[in-house]
C-alpha cells in the first residue's frame, strides 16, 4: 500500500527523471520501508519522503532535461535541425498548465498593450505640446510689411496678437519688442503671428501679416522656437535670469496686476525650493515655467518659450528691405485672393486664404470686391484661410453692410478702428445673401470674420467648425533664447455667445468642408429663386 502511494507520488517528478531513476527511487523506498519499522521510524520515513518531494520536484522541473541539452549540443553550425526528444506525449496536467500560462500571458500582453497606448513619456508629450503651439520648422516666414511710422492702418497701433488655441495653449502672434522687453506700443514694434500650422508670421505696427509662403528667416521667432525643441544646456545663472525677467515682465505687462503678483510669488517659491535646479534643457525649463504661470492664472495665453537659435534682438522685418520682400510676396500671391469668379446664376465666388496687410493689399481687395459687385449672391471661401490682419478683416466685412458695424476683436480693446468702413462707395453687396465656407483649418482672423458676421446675422456659415484660435499674447524677448507671450488686454465681448477661443465657430449649415461649396451654391440658388 505504502509503495503504491509512493509510486503515485513519484509521478510528480518530470518524465525524464522518472525514466532515469524512477525504478531506483521506488527500490530505495522499498529498502527503507523494509528496514525502518516501528511508528517513529515509519513517521520519519514519510517525513523524509515528503520533504524530499517538496525540494526535489521543483528543482527537477527547473533543470533542463539532459536530452535537450545533448540535442542542442548536436547542432551543426547554423543548420536548423529537428530531434525527437521523447516518445511520450505531454501529460494532461502539463498541457493544462501550459494552456493556462498561455492565456495569462496573452491577457497580460493585450492589457499592457491597451494601457501602454495611452502612455506618453513626459518629455515627448511636452515636445508634442510645443509642436502644437508653435509652427513647425518649416513655418513660413513673412517679412514684415512696413516700417516705422506706418501705423495709420492698424487697429489703434496695439500690439495685439492672434492666438490659435484649439484646446492647447498657444500664442499666435506676438509683437517683437526690443531686448529690454518693452511692450510694443510704438510703431516700430512688429508682430509675429504664431500659427500652429503655418501662415503669416510677422508684421509691424500692430499689423497682422498675411500669407503666402516665403523663405524661412533665421530671425523669425516662430522658426527659431520650433527648431529649439529639446535642446539646451542651462546653467543656474541663466535660469535665475529667465525667472527674474519673467517675473518683471508679468508685473509690468500682465493685464491683471493682482494675478501677476501671485504668479511672480509662485515662481519665486518654486525657485527657492530648488525645483528648477535640475533642469538643464531650455525647452523643458520654458515648459515648466509656462505650466506654473498657467497653474496660478489659468490663462492659457501666457507662455514662455525657448529657442535654441538666438532670437533676433530687433523685431524681424522692420527694415525697408523686409517690407519690400513682403510686398513682392503679396504681389506674387495676389494678396492670397486665390479665386475671384462668377459662378452660374450670377453667384460670386471669392477664395481668400489670408487677410493680408491692408496697407499692402487694399487695392487688390478693392478690385476683387469690385469685380463681384454685380453678383446676386456671394460665397466667401475661407476653408484654407489661416487668419491675418484685423483691419483687413474689417475692410472685407465692410462690403456687407450699409452702415458701420462694430466688429468685435477679442485681441484688441475697442478703438475707432473696431468698426467696419461701411458703407463702401458704389458697393451693391450690402443686401446680398452671403455664404462663408469654413473648415477646421479656418483659423484666427478668419474666425473673427466668421464669428462677427454670424453674430450680426449677416452671413450663413457653411462647412465645419473652425479651428478655435482667438486670443493672444504680446511677445517679450527675455534674452537670446527665451521670450514670453503675455496677454495685455481684455476686450469686452458685446455678444452673449463666448468667442471662439478653443471651441471654434460653429457653422450654420454643417457639412464636410469638401462639400461646402456645392451646398452653399445650392443654398444660394434656392434663395435667389424664391425672390
Amino acid at each position: 500500500m505504502s509503495e503504491k502511494i509512493y509510486a503515485l507520488l513519484l509521478r510528480l517528478f518530470p518524465s525524464h527523471f522518472r525514466k532515469a531513476y524512477g525504478d531506483e527511487a521506488l527500490q530505495l523506498f522499498r529498502d527503507r520501508d523494509r528496514d525502518e519499522n516501528g511508528f517513529i521510524p515509519r513517521f520519519r520515513l514519510w517525513f523524509d519522503l515528503l520533504a524530499d518531494l517538496a525540494i526535489s520536484v521543483p528543482r527537477e522541473y527547473f533543470y533542463a532535461d539532459p536530452q535537450l541539452l545533448a540535442a542542442s549540443g548536436q547542432r551543426l553550425g547554423c543548420t536548423p535541425s529537428f530531434y525527437f526528444l521523447g516518445d511520450e506525449s505531454p501529460r494532461p496536467g502539463a498541457l493544462f498548465l501550459g494552456g493556462m500560462l498561455s492565456l495569462v500571458a496573452l491577457f497580460t500582453f493585450s492589457s499592457l498593450l491597451s494601457q501602454g497606448g495611452n502612455h506618453r513619456p513626459r518629455n515627448s508629450s511636452a515636445r508634442q505640446l510645443r509642436r502644437g503651439t508653435v509652427p513647425s520648422a518649416s513655418a513660413y516666414k513673412r517679412p514684415a510689411p512696413q516700417a516705422a511710422g506706418d501705423t495709420s492702418s492698424t487697429s489703434g497701433g496695439e500690439n495685439e496678437t492672434l492666438a490659435p488655441t484649439s484646446g492647447h495653449p498657444t500664442m499666435v502672434s506676438t509683437p517683437f519688442t526690443p531686448a529690454e522687453g518693452k511692450p510694443g506700443k510704438s510703431s516700430s514694434d512688429a508682430i509675429l503671428l504664431y500659427d500652429p500650422s503655418h501662415t503669416g508670421q510677422s508684421s509691424s505696427s500692430g499689423q497682422r501679416d498675411t500669407g503666402s509662403p516665403m523663405q524661412p528667416t533665421p530671425g523669425d521667432a516662430a522658426t527659431t522656437v520650433a527648431t529649439a525643441v529639446g535642446h539646451g544646456n542651462l546653467d543656474a545663472a541663466e535660469r535665475q535670469r529667465v525667472v527674474n525677467a519673467a517675473i518683471a515682465n508679468l508685473k509690468q505687462h500682465y493685464v491683471y496686476p493682482d494675478m501677476a503678483q501671485k504668479m511672480a510669488e509662485a515662481l519665486l517659491v518654486k525657485e527657492k525650493r530648488g525645483e528648477y535646479d535640475a533642469i538643464t534643457d531650455g525647452d523643458i525649463f520654458a515648459h515648466q515655467l509656462t505650466k506654473q504661470m498657467r497653474d496660478v492664472s489659468h490663462d492659457m495665453h501666457l507662455e514662455l518659450v525657448y529657442s535654441q537659435d538666438p532670437l533676433p534682438p530687433q523685431p524681424a522685418g522692420q527694415t525697408a528691405e523686409g517690407l519690400a520682400r513682403y510686398r513682392d510676396a503679396m504681389k506674387q500671391e495676389n494678396c492670397t485672393f486665390e479665386k475671384v469668379e462668377i459662378l452660374p446664376h450670377n453667384i460670386g465666388y471669392l477664395k481668400l486664404n489670408f487677410f493680408p496687410d491692408r496697407s499692402v493689399c487694399e487695392q487688390t481687395a478693392t478690385a476683387a470686391m469690385a469685380s463681384l459687385n454685380n453678383t446676386d449672391a456671394l460665397i466667401v471661401d475661407l476653408r484654407d484661410n489661416r487668419g491675418g490682419m484685423p483691419d483687413m478683416v474689417a475692410l472685407m466685412a465692410s462690403y456687407f453692410f450699409d452702415h458701420p458695424e462694430y466688429f468685435f476683436n477679442p485681441r484688441e480693446n475697442t478703438t475707432t478702428e473696431s468698426w467696419t468702413h461701411s458703407p463702401v462707395p458704389g458697393n451693391k453687396l450690402a443686401d446680398k445673401p452671403v455664404y462663408v465656407l469654413t473648415s477646421s483649418r479656418t483659423f484666427s482672423g478668419a474666425e473673427q470674420f466668421c464669428y462677427d458676421l454670424k453674430m450680426l446675422k449677416r452671413v450663413t456659415l457653411v462647412g465645419e467648425t473652425t479651428g478655435g484660435g482667438a486670443h493672444s499674447g504680446v511677445w517679450h524677448r527675455i534674452d537670446d533664447h527665451f521670450g514670453m507671450g503675455i496677454p495685455e488686454t481684455k476686450p469686452i465681448n458685446p455678444y452673449a455667445t463666448p468667442d471662439w477661443e478653443g471651441t471654434g465657430v460653429e457653422p450654420d449649415v454643417r457639412v464636410k468642408a469638401a462639400d461646402a461649396l456645392a451646398v452653399a451654391e445650392n443654398l444660394a440658388q434656392s434663395k435667389l429663386q424664391k425672390k
Partner: protein, 116 residues
C-alpha cells in the same frame, strides 16, 4: 533552462562523494552511508539522492557500474556507483576548503580544540 551546477558543491553531492570514497555503493547504500557518516543528520530522500547522482554522473565525478545484486538485500539488481579520480580530487579540495573554514572558526574562538 539551466543545467545542473556543482559549483559550489552542494552538501548532498559532497556527502555522496565522501560515501563513495572507500567502496562502490548502490543508491540505498549511499543513503545509509551518508546517514552514518553524518550521525543520522542527513537522510537523503530518493529525489535528492538521484538528482545529485545524475549531476555527479554528468560531471564525471562518479561513474555508474554494471548492475548487480546486493546479497544482503535480495535478488534485485542494483546500479552501483564509483568515485572517479576527478570526483576524489574534488572531494579532497572541498574538504580542504572546509578545513580552512574550521581553522578560521577556531582562530575566532567559535570552535574549541586544536585539531584540524
Amino acid at each position: 533552462m539551466p543545467k545542473r551546477k556543482l559549483d559550489p558543491l552542494p552538501s548532498a553531492a559532497f556527502q555522496i562523494l565522501l560515501s563513495l570514497a572507500e567502496e562502490d555503493l548502490h543508491g540505498y547504500g549511499i543513503m545509509r552511508q551518508v546517514a552514518e557518516q553524518t550521525d543520522g543528520r542527513v537522510r537523503l530522500g530518493p529525489g535528492t539522492l538521484y538528482s545529485s547522482i545524475q549531476s555527479l554522473l554528468e560531471e564525471r565525478l562518479i561513474e555508474e557500474l554494471d548492475p548487480r545484486e546486493d546479497v544482503e538485500l535480495g535478488q534485485e539488481r542494483r546500479r552501483y556507483y564509483r568515485l572517479t579520480s576527478s570526483g576524489r580530487k574534488l572531494a579532497r579540495s572541498e574538504a580542504e576548503k572546509l578545513a580552512g573554514f574550521l581553522r578560521v572558526a577556531r582562530s575566532r574562538k567559535i570552535l574549541r580544540g586544536n585539531y584540524v
